[in-house]
């Protein structure tokens, strides 16, 4: 926006407001009406709502800081902002109607440009749909702290700003660059074993001593021992145990064990790691999360229309934008760009509802546990609470939906022709369903990389391993830059071995040394 536009806007601010067909009273009324349906009739369970109205530019701000209202400063966010802004200004991309933050209170951003119908839709979608999902899904409950996230981001932003003031922007930027490169490797996939503290440790040692005394047998002393080799092996195992290896969370390992990092650098790694962890459940539940929100807004809007609270004109406007959201172009369509999570999610939720209310014989065979139970919302809520995309698809994708979307599975070995493995028929349902589930499994999409060892006796080289499934190697272009960042953080050389999971054969080796970028700063 040029400065001239800014002046114009300031002058017209009073009128600008009047241009929109909603005001704060009507927003509040809409919220109450939606709440009546979503909480009263559907029985959703939500965090308290906070609805914030923002401008398009503020929406771009939130976009560029990976959807957080508060974010530390880094050039990459500026880059994303520049790109999003360019696309938006040239009309190549529409902004989302809303953004919603998994926090308590749950913050939903509404764009001021939305019409009243769209605001109602967005309130139903974000403030009730997503909100319910955030509060109830087990992944979010287990891995994110909705009450604390905004405070934590406040801390993170302030901490990094203070680091910049004290150590210089460049020094901080280098650490952040390196940490961002490893962000996808900065996530705990499984809960860490809790360290019980000193008391428990002592108790365990005592129990062990007691056990040794109890089972003492003088005969063992006479068994000849195979000296040196045995010893060597134990030290290796011991070393791994002390270092907590193997470790899949690379950022965690560096934060705790990298020898040369300064305390503030470790804290920055920790911040980046926490943010990555916060977003990890969202990555795993894209289809369900959007499906849940879309289902809620669709049902709510229909109920509002039935109750006469939403006019026919508004209903048509809603349906037209809803249809755009859940559009799934076919694979040979120019608009095709993968499976639309909104379409798949919404399709599955609608399908579950149909199975609960009007099951066919096929449904009764496939879903005996809930077919025809007349309780669609109860069934859906149970699903939303206990699954993630991969397991949800595996459990709930019905043959009816596979037929409706005409899903088929194609195998691609990278060399010869593509082969159709399964289509939407009796023989193919199971294959299609499990392939689709795998396709939405974050653990499959992201490479499985672990730190396996450190050469403590030699040059302190950090050894990583990528387990290769189906011969899918890492993309070449970025390996070296990422390894250099890793080496900078570690302080010594690092190596990455790509090992086939089926044959244990080493397929490829990469290594890189530190560039000294961190030390120089």
């Amino acid at each position: 926006m040029s400065p001239d536009d800014g002046v114009m806007l300031d002058k017209d601010k009073g009128e600008t407001r009047a241009r929109f067909d909603w005001d704060f009273d009507s927003l509040s009324r809409a919220h109450d009406q939606v709440a009546e349906i979503a909480l009263g009739e559907f029985g959703l369970d939500i965090y308290p709502n906070q609805i914030e109205v923002i401008t398009a530019e503020q929406m771009l701000d939130v976009y560029s800081s990976i959807g957080m209202p508060l974010m530390y400063r880094h050039w990459s966010f500026g880059k994303h902002f520049a790109r999003d802004e360019t696309l938006y200004r040239r009309g190549m991309r529409n902004l989302a109607y809303e953004i919603v933050i998994n926090s308590s209170p749950c913050i939903s951003y509404l764009m001021e440009e939305n019409s009243m119908t769209m605001q109602t839709l967005v309130i139903a979608h974000a403030a009730f749909g997503h909100n319910h999902f955030f509060k109830n899904n087990h992944l979010f409950q287990q891995w994110t702290d909705a009450d604390g996230i905004l405070d934590y981001m406040e801390f993170a932003k302030g901490y990094i700003a203070r680091c910049e003031a004290r150590y210089g922007e460049t020094a901080v930027e280098r650490v952040l660059d390196a940490a961002h490169a490893l962000m996808t490797q900065g996530v705990n996939r499984y809960p860490r074993r809790k360290n019980g503290g000193l008391e428990e440790e002592e108790k365990r040692i005592q129990e062990r001593m007691a056990e040794i005394e109890r089972s003492y047998n003088d005969l063992w002393r006479t068994v000849p021992q195979n000296g040196s080799r045995e010893k060597r092996r134990t030290t290796e195992a011991e070393r791994r145990q002390i270092l907590g290896l193997p470790e899949e969370n690379v950022l965690y390992f560096l934060e705790k064990k990298a020898p040369l990092l300064k305390p503030w650098q470790r804290e920055i790694l920790r911040i980046v790691r926490h943010i990555a962890q916060y977003f990890y459940p969202q990555k795993q539940t894209k289809v369900m999360n959007e499906g849940c929100a879309t289902m809620v807004h669709y049902e709510v809007m229909n109920r509002l229309h039935e109750k006469g609270q939403l006019g026919d004109g508004a209903m048509v406007e809603f349906l037209s934008s809803h249809t755009n959201v859940v559009l799934q172009p076919d694979f040979d369509d120019r608009r095709y760009s993968g499976i639309n999570p909104y379409a798949l999610g919404f399709g599955m939720m609608q399908d579950v509802k149909r199975i609960c209310l009007e099951p066919t014989d096929e449904d009764r065979t496939w879903f005996p546990q809930f077919a025809g139970n007349r309780d669609p919302w109860g069934t859906l809520k149970e699903g939303w609470a206990n699954y993630r995309d991969e397991s949800f698809i595996r459990q709930y994708l019905s043959p009816a939906l596979i037929r409706k979307m005409k899903l088929f599975t194609v195998a691609d070995d990278g060399v010869s022709d593509l082969v159709v493995k399964a289509i939407h028929n009796e023989r193919g349902y199971q294959t299609v369903r499990s392939s689709l589930a795998r396709q939405f499994d974050t653990a499959q999409k992201e490479p499985e990389i672990e730190i396996v060892d450190v050469d403590l006796d030699g040059d302190r080289r950090l050894m990583l391993q990528h387990r290769v499934y189906d011969n899918v190697l890492l993309a070449e272009d970025d390996i070296q830059p990422v390894l250099r960042h890793l080496a900078d953080l570690w302080g010594y050389e690092v190596s990455l071995t790509e090992v086939s999971s089926s044959s244990e054969a080493v397929l490829k080796q990469h290594s890189a040394g530190p560039t000294g970028a961190l030390a120089a700063a």
Partner: protein, 430 residues
Amino acid sequence: MNIIDRRLNPQGKSLANRQRFIRRARKQIADAVREASGKSSVADVNGGGKIKIRSDGINEPQLYHSGKSGEHTHVVPGNHEYVEGDRIPRPQGGEGGRGREASADGEGEDAFQFVLTQDEFLDLFLEDLELPDMLRKQLKKAESFLPRRAGYSVSGAATNLNLVRTMRNSLSRRIALKRPRPAEIQALETELKTLTESGDDIERCRELEIEIEEQRRRSRRIPFIDPVDVRYNRFELVPQPVASAVMFCLMDVSGSMTEHMKDLAKRFYKLLYLFLSRRYRNVEIVFIRHTHVAREVDEETFFNSRETGGTVVSTVLEEMLRVLQERYPRDQWNIYAAQASDGDNLSSDNAKSAALLERRILPICQYFAYLEVGDEEDGFNLGSEIWRTYERLDRSGHPIAMRKVNKRNQIFPVFRELFARDQSARKAAS
């Protein structure tokens, strides 16, 4: 439920990120700006606008699966004709429902496109340019003073009275000297009044009378505000080092100048004007145009109105000297001049011009730039009248620089050469 209107919150939250990004990609962006400005006309320079930069240095590397290796299985919607076991010929360029997802994370874009604001564009566009020898006379003009707060004084103008300080002093003095408060006297008087009315305790009445008298006397003798209490804000005048410069734009608008040449000159001055009005706050610009007579004009006339006549260069130099003497004393101003001409001059005037320049103008000038404009096909094989005259001065070490321009796209490079911050680059280029 809360509804909050955030629209009036401060805008530009991501400005800091943007600045970091531009700093990070500075080299690539500067290259792109140069390239863009070479193609577009000078009039567009003002605009800012879309640029495309190479993405090296601003990549965000990540480890991800390669879409090219290994075996993949894709589930795709919209099957019309395929049955199990069908073979589909490999689509060209990875199109047709495979490979997209795998590369979506990688963002394999070579070029990164975005819009620069006008300010950012000009910053980069005019980067490294400087008025030559700007600082030489910087401190000479010390007559400009700015008042700065410097504590308090006991004397000063009434407008500078510092009420808070004054009252504080007054209060502490009154407390120290035990000046009775009006309320205290009032209380004594009331007591006296009731006593006299009731008529008993004459003794006490007398005491009270004496005390009241004493208090009143005290109150009269100790003033509420004494001259010793009064404080004034004190200001000190701090000399302001001002880098003042005046830039003379001299242009030949005579008949021998074709439209094309005028256009070139105008473009050069526009660029110059942009540069000056942006780079320095305290720069004055004088426009003088000439035929066989010279006249100082305003900017509008300088660029836009037309005039015909002969060519006598010395007139413009004389006019410049007149303006200098009238308004810009040499000890207070840095003097710069830029002359644009097609090189024609009345032959008899050459000697006079050279003498004027050498004896009177160059000694007081920081820098004199001469831009010779020519027709597009013209090769400038032989030096023009003015060129030959000025060349002699250039060789003898005077602060004069000369360039020839005959195409629009040469304007910007020449401009950069003339005003490059690095002296050695300027010398090397000439």
